[in-house]
């Protein structure tokens, strides 16, 4: 009798633990999906901002890089992983945004266009950090021996980190400064 009770308790405990692990994995998978969607949205916003800057200043190389990056975004959203081709296109756009031609054009461009590109570039870096943090959390939980042993992740492939060079362009006047003294009372 005692043996039966012990076995039942053990089985229930193990099942509860595994269910709990599975629900954590589920939640993490959702977080990866949500952060990937967020990352793609920011990449799209950056490409769009780059395209308008390119148009208003006649920067052909930047326009091409923006188009290439933009072309990949639909597949990025549809597919479960972000692949190397997408990374290449985004790297090329980051480089184009930092190119001397763009730095020169910044003086002529409408400040709004430049600000939009810089803000979008900064948001890409944040979105990528959020995405990669989620991927890191999945990989550390899915890598546990018990999780692999009982195939808790099912057939879900391990999500991949999205590694691009997203360093934002550096402007001559340093980091974007808030409208400090202008709006401060008493300054």
């Amino acid at each position: 009798m005692t043996v039966v009770v012990v076995v039942v308790v053990l089985v229930v405990a193990i099942a509860t633990y595994l269910t709990w692990l599975a629900s954590r994995l589920d939640r993490l998978a959702n977080r990866v999906d949500a952060t990937r969607a967020g990352l793609v949205a920011q990449l799209t916003a950056r490409a769009d901002a780059a395209r308008s800057l390119a148009r208003s200043c006649g920067l052909d190389d930047l326009a091409i890089a923006a188009e290439r990056a933009r072309a990949g975004h639909a597949t990025l959203l549809a597919e479960a992983t972000l692949d190397a081709t997408a990374e290449d296109a985004e790297n090329a756009l980051s480089r184009a945004l930092r190119s001397p031609a763009v730095a020169l054009a910044v003086g002529r461009a409408a400040p709004g266009d430049v600000h939009a590109v810089d803000a979008a570039a900064a948001r890409v870096a944040l979105a990528r950090q959020f995405h990669n943090d989620a991927v890191g959390d999945v990989r550390s939980l899915a890598g546990r021996r018990l999780v692999r042993l009982v195939h808790l992740s099912g057939r879900r492939p391990l999500p991949a980190y999205f590694e691009i060079d997203d360093a934002p362009p550096v402007r001559e006047d340093g980091p974007p400064r808030p409208e400090s003294s202008a709006e401060m009372p008493g300054a």
Partner: protein
């Protein structure tokens, strides 16, 4: 936006995290957001209208000081009810590694969760031990924010988690245009150009120790890491170079012990005023020609430097990482080698003799401070909220884990 903020430490006990949550909440409210804070509190009448009581916290010795913590079914029920009643677009938990309300909120909620990590602690045995217990709650966070590079390093090393960096804000408005303490208004400091410029002394009695330039120190006077000893060793050397220099020392601690170590010939030049109320901090900074931060320990963030700069006082600080970063590598304030009284005295003397350079530092200081203005910092935090929220509001987790 409907924003829920969880604060882990007792609201009516002074502390950096509580101040951060309060300033953030009030800035967000000013910007038109809908904000509710849940926090432990001892005296419920001290709670502002936007805050909700999570219960009384229990003091526990932790990490060399006393942490007041709160876990248990009653608070869990309160947190759950708070979550149900508000339908937040985003839940922002502060310091969710402390066993208190923030951790409870992370355990109980599901959806757009954001957390800010405040502590920088390179060798936290607590975090190392608790890592696997904290992991399930921390992995719900869609965005992790660290207030300093050191806090981020702590997070990476102990919990293997990345984070973005958004610094603490400074309530710039509380420091702008500060006037010197009444007794110091006779001095023409940079931050106080209108106070009885030609007068010797003022209507409030003679200014202590003459009317020479004033070096200000603010911090615990018996906490070695705050470095008052370095400044005390530098002061006689400074007087050799600037004979009428004076020293104003504010902060809690044993003032008599400090006084007994001062060279009697200099006693008249050193004004030890002890603990000053929070409301007088700006005036203390404004009383100085220079503010000195001789800290010898690693600080995670130089908020006091920013406050001094916001009050319009140039800064001389020891060359530790956090200070170097805040002072823009020495462009917005002078740096000296950690624990080097001779170098400190030289830097102070240079600045006290050069009002034009002081004015330049004050200008650059203002530009630096603007980046840390709560109104600017809160905007960046709202940017994070916008990036993680959207699909569905914060809900109470089905499995309560």
């Amino acid at each position: 936006m409907k924003i829920g903020l969880a604060c882990p430490y007792t609201w009516d006990v002074p502390g950096g995290v509580q101040a951060h949550v309060r300033d953030l909440a009030e800035t967000l409210l000013d910007a038109g957001h809908d904000v509710s804070v849940i926090t432990p509190v001892d005296d419920e009448s001290t709670l502002p209208p936007y805050a909700v009581d999570a219960g009384r916290a229990v003091p526990v010795p932790y990490n060399g000081s006393v942490a007041r913590l709160l876990m248990g079914p009653v608070s869990a029920a309160r947190v759950r009810r708070w979550l149900r009643e508000h339908d937040f677009d985003v839940l922002h938990a502060h310091e969710p590694t402390a066993p208190s309300v923030s951790l409870l909120a992370c355990m109980l909620a599901d959806g757009p969760l954001v957390a800010t990590f405040h502590t920088a602690n390179p060798r936290s045995r607590f975090l190392t031990a608790a890592q696997s217990a904290l992991q399930p709650s921390l992995e719900k966070l869609r965005a992790r924010i660290a207030v300093s590079e050191a806090a981020r390093r702590t997070l990476v090393e102990h919990l293997g988690a990345g984070a973005i960096l958004i610094p603490n804000g400074v309530a710039v408005r509380a420091f702008e245009g500060a006037r010197a303490l009444p007794r110091y208004r006779a001095v023409v400091g940079v931050g106080d150009s209108d106070g009885g410029a030609e007068g010797h002394g003022s209507e409030d009695g003679d200014s202590p120790g003459g009317d020479g330039p004033v070096v200000v120190f603010l911090g615990r006077i018996d906490e070695p890491r705050k470095g008052l000893d370095v400044l005390m060793a530098a002061f006689p050397l400074l007087v050799e170079q600037v004979p009428d220099a004076r020293l104003l020392v504010a902060g809690p601690g044993d003032t008599e012990a400090v006084r007994s170590r001062i060279d009697p010939s200099l006693l008249g030049r050193v004004d030890l005023i002890g603990l000053v109320p929070e409301a007088d901090k700006a005036a203390v900074f404004a009383s100085g020609s220079v503010y000195c931060a001789p800290n010898t320990g690693q600080e995670s963030f130089g908020i006091v430097l920013l406050e001094a700069m916001a009050a319009g006082t140039p800064v001389v600080a020891s060359d530790i990482d956090a200070f170097r970063r805040v002072l823009d590598d020495g462009r917005a304030g002078r740096l000296f080698g950690v624990g080097e009284p001779a170098e400190l005295a030289a830097r102070l003397a240079e600045l006290l003799r050069d009002p034009a350079e002081r004015a330049r530092l004050v200008e650059r200081g203002r530009a630096v401070v603007a980046r840390y203005d709560w109104r600017v910092v809160a905007q960046r935090i709202v940017g994070v909220y916008e990036m993680v929220s959207g699909d569905s509001p914060v809900s109470v987790a089905a499995d309560d884990t």
